[in-house]
Amino acid sequence: MDRALKGRLEARFGAMLAGPIRQRHDETEMRIGPGDVTEVLRALHDEPDFRFEMLSDLAGVDTGDHMQVVYHLWSDSTADWLRVIADGLSREDPRAPSATFLWKGAEWMEREAYDMFGITFEGNRDLRRIYMPPDYTSFPLRKDFLLPDDAARSPGGGVRHMERGHAPASRAEGSDAPDTIRRLGA
Amino acid sequence: MTAIARTWGRLTLPGKVVFTLVPILAALTVGLIAVIAIFGGAIWDILLANLGIVRFVIAVTIILLVTIPIAFLNIYLEMKVIALMNLRVGPDRVGPWGSLLSVVHGLKVLMKEDFTPTGADAVVFTWAPVVTYGAAVMTVLVLPFAPGLIAQDFNIGLLYFFAVGGMGVVGLLMAGWASFNKYSLLGGLRSAAQIISYEIPLTLSVVGLLILAGTMSLNGIVEQQSGWFTDWFVFRQPLGFLIFFIAATAEGNRTPFDLTEADSEIVAGFATEYSGMRFGFFFFAEYVNVFILSALAVVLFFGGWNAPFPFPAISIPIDLAAIGLPLLFLIALVPPIATLIFAAPFYLMRSSMRWWVALIVGFVLFNVVAGGLVFAWAFVSFDWVAGLVWFLAKTFGFVFVFVWMRGTLPRVRIDQLMGFAWKWLLPAALLNLFVTAAAVVVVGS
């Protein structure tokens, strides 16, 4: 992990950060509010000490009580993947600004997130469903969309999302659990 | 009455058909014999008086019958040769080495549902394959297969060839338009654009040759190339031949110019909506086209039915009548004796072989040898047999080249195709024409 990157990010985006910057393995993670996405992404993309010119991935996440949009960025200025989480989108009407002004290639990824989670990306010119048929009404990857059959249950037991309904967000996402995990097999 | 009705009721459907047909056929035969017996002389006179027409009708019938096996042969050749180039086995199930597969293809095509899409212009849709196939077949009329073996020796044979051959595109355009399918339409328009563009270099490329030959009769052109192979026009018109060959490839819609049915772009082009025998007609027309374009290349540039060298005139004096009565004994005795002779080594050498198997092998061998001997005798004795053999050998050599190109080359793009025709082939054809004309003028004076 790149400690210097953490310092630079904190110095540049101090006020916009919605949570502490976390680092683990080769990943650096920052959380911002959905309103700051445009500004943060543009700064990361354009400013010479960041140069995050590649959008590696754009994903929607349903944590159970709110939505996130997760951007993974790559830059030659650091050895880490930078994960930008636009946190705290409401589940009723999730809205986030589109990243297509920087990366036109984000268009389909945003369409996919819209199709699967119902996240509306403001500024995307072509926000239609991409996989599901146009007359489809639900958003399949949301946590309240339960699979109708039992075929996928794991034999190992454990807590099943289907039965649990919404995962308690405090435990799944927002917890401040330490990042060290007991090493297995070492 | 009831007995007849009961008997009729017991017949199966084919039985009823045969039962009805037999008396009708019998009556017709009797009538025909009667007509011939009464008016025979008059009919014969009429036929003799119109020998040209009779000849033409017979030739057309034969050509129609011959083109189908030619198409079959081309299809088989294509399947097998491309398979070998692709490092595959190719057809090997039906008949020896899969040689009957194209016949089975033909039967399959005959048995498939003949389908007209909703919205298609049914009349044009139906006639399109007929026009295309008809155009392909009609060009065969002027091809000199061998000395004397030509259906109609026009003095404007070459013009007729190009004119009728160019009519095939009308069929493709009709198919493309009438199918009510955008892919078909694109294919039809492509073929129209392509063939119109390539007609010009194709025709221009042979004008130089015509200046040298001084005739448009294909028979006449072939006759001028007799003697050694150096007399073939390809050595006097190399550029002309090159242009002709390229343009002919485009004219026949063959790879690399097979844009009209480019399967990776427009599915099957004009033939997208066709099935059954209508598609079969297009299919056959394509392969007949390959044959006649190869044949034309051979006729114009490769000496037609001429052997590559002056063939020593061998005449084998077999005067069967001189043998007299022993001929009967010969005919009766030679086959069984030869069969036994050929069978003997197999029976004696291979103990595992049954006697009757050996006899069959011997019989087959005898037939092969006898057939070969008869063929060799015919080859040296009759001009037309030798000519036909040379002609077909050369032509299928060209068919092989077409197949070879299909196995090797990718497809060109439509703008490259057009650009090539207008920017390169046409100027080259004109250059060829001018150089030939200048040479003729200089040498002539």
């Binding site: 393995h25 080769d26 990943e27 993670e29 590649m54 590696s56 991935d57 996440v61 997760v70 993974h72 050895a79 990366w103 036109k104 290639g105 389909w108 990824m109 699967m116 010119r125 072509d126 996989y131 599901m132 048929p133 990857l141 969309f145 699979l147 996928a152 794991s154 190992g156 037991g157 454990g158 099943r160 999302h161 435990r171 799944a172 917890s175 990042d179 995990i181 007991r182 297995l184 097999g185 | 491309i82 692709n86 595959r88 899409p117 909703t118 919205g119 694109l186 790879t255 690399p256 097979d258 399967d263 990776s264 090797t408 080359l409 990718p410 497809r411 060109v412 793009r413 439509i414 490259q416």
Partner: protein
């Protein structure tokens, strides 16, 4: 029968109401479907002389069940609108309802031409979640089999690309190459296509005798054989003329379209995850990242062919450097990673495959995002094909090498 008006607003391609009217037998433009987006309104409004051509989902050259609506002006493609979803099976949802081991077999069929890479990135992501150290021998086996699979994929690409340009033979020649490799991998993994070989913490089986003998046999003639296959196309004037200058994209454009892999490197960016963000044992291996600057279809093709040679180099080094040791880390049967998030990206034959996995402490991933390069590259066809012909659209699509299994997930 009067021809319906073909200009003005047209119904959208995926409007369920657009269907064949059986009475008149034509596609009658129904009253305009209200366009859902700006882009859709723009696409389905036809100019003078333009027509819509529906290509696929059954079409000889759409590489699976892709449907593309082309807006044509004669032979010229003005615009196109890919319609996806014919192969969509909701892998991400399936993964969220499967335990960590089952995920591997769920993601296998994504890019069925190079399945090992689909397994690789989830496996790395899960290993990050679990903090597992993978034995070095397992890493070497992964690299070895992965590079073999890369060659198989690129060999197939060569054939498909030539087939879309109208060449019949290369696809069959390259299938011979691919078949040898696939048989080899079948000896190693037990499957020809959907290998299901990588495991969290290692691989499923050690190198065996049949695999090694096949590999040795192939390696002894691989370079020569691939060279001879390449001469069929590289020295073919028609092929080169058709591919050169076709579907050009510059560096900035490629980055804007989020392109990765050979398609990005063909524009001059030496971005290869194996070097840019190393994983596995790639830092220990010596290989080049070939780049080209033209950014056209020919460059993409030549680059992939160059990568085959680099992959052979890597395989050679793997065989020489392969250490002894275990092939699996010691792990419990039931994996329950502590809550956390992990992102792993790998360099596949088509570009960067990546996985973003979230664990909530149970035995099933809470969220598993799969990022597939085919999906990204297919989207850029619309940018690359500006004012090309129909034939070129297919060729451009083929030069990007999308696999519909991965596009539709």
């Amino acid at each position: 029968m009067t021809a319906p008006s073909r200009t003005g607003p047209q119904p959208s391609a995926d409007d369920p109401r657009v269907m064949l009217d059986r009475d008149i037998g034509v596609f009658e433009p129904v009253p305009p479907y209200p366009p859902r987006t700006e882009r859709e309104a723009e696409f389905y409004t036809l100019g003078d002389g333009q027509m819509l051509l529906n290509m696929g989902p059954q079409h000889p050259s759409t590489h699976g069940v892709l449907r593309v609506v082309l807006k044509l002006d004669g032979e010229k493609v003005v615009d196109l609108d890919p319609v996806l979803g014919y192969l969509h099976r909701g892998v991400e949802k399936l993964c969220e309802n499967a335990d960590y081991h089952q995920v591997i077999s769920q993601v296998d069929p994504l890019e069925y031409i190079s399945s090992l890479f689909c397994e690789w990135s989830p496996v790395i992501a899960f290993e990050k979640l679990l903090d597992v150290d993978v034995p070095r021998r397992a890493e070497y086996i992964r690299v070895l089999s992965g590079e073999l699979n890369r060659i198989a994929s690129h060999a197939l690409f060569m054939g498909w690309f030539a087939l879309d340009l109208g060449g019949l033979t290369p696809i069959l020649w390259s299938f011979i190459e691919r078949d040898e490799i696939v048989e080899m991998l079948a000896a190693l993994t037990g499957q020809r296509m959907l290998f299901n070989y990588f495991r969290i913490g290692g691989v499923n089986g050690d190198l065996n005798h049949e695999f090694m003998s096949r590999l040795g046999d192939w390696m002894s003639r691989a370079t020569k054989q691939i060279e001879s296959n390449l001469t069929l196309l590289n020295q073919n004037e028609i092929f080169v003329r058709r591919a050169r200058g076709l579907g050009v994209i510059d560096t900035a454009g490629a980055l804007r379209m989020c392109m990765t892999g050979p398609n990005l490197r063909a524009t001059g960016v030496p971005f290869d995850v194996r070097r840019a963000h190393p994983y596995s044992v790639y830092p220990e291996l010596d290989f080049d990242v070939p780049t080209r600057t033209e950014g056209d279809s020919l460059a993409r093709y030549l680059l992939r062919m160059e990568e085959i040679k680099q992959s052979i180099r890597i395989i050679d080094q793997c065989l020489h450097q392969m250490p002894d040791g275990p092939i699996m880390a010691k792990l419990p049967r039931l994996l329950r990673p502590r809550p956390g998030r992990a992102y792993a990206a790998i360099e596949g034959p088509r570009g960067q495959y990546s996985t973003y996995a979230i664990s909530d402490g149970t035995d099933q991933p809470f969220r598993m995002r799969i990022h597939d390069p085919s999906f990204i590259h297919l989207q850029s066809v619309g940018v690359l094909m500006q004012n090309n012909l129909i034939a070129d659209t297919m060729a451009i699509m083929a030069s990007l090498d999308p696999v519909m299994g991965g596009v539709d997930k």
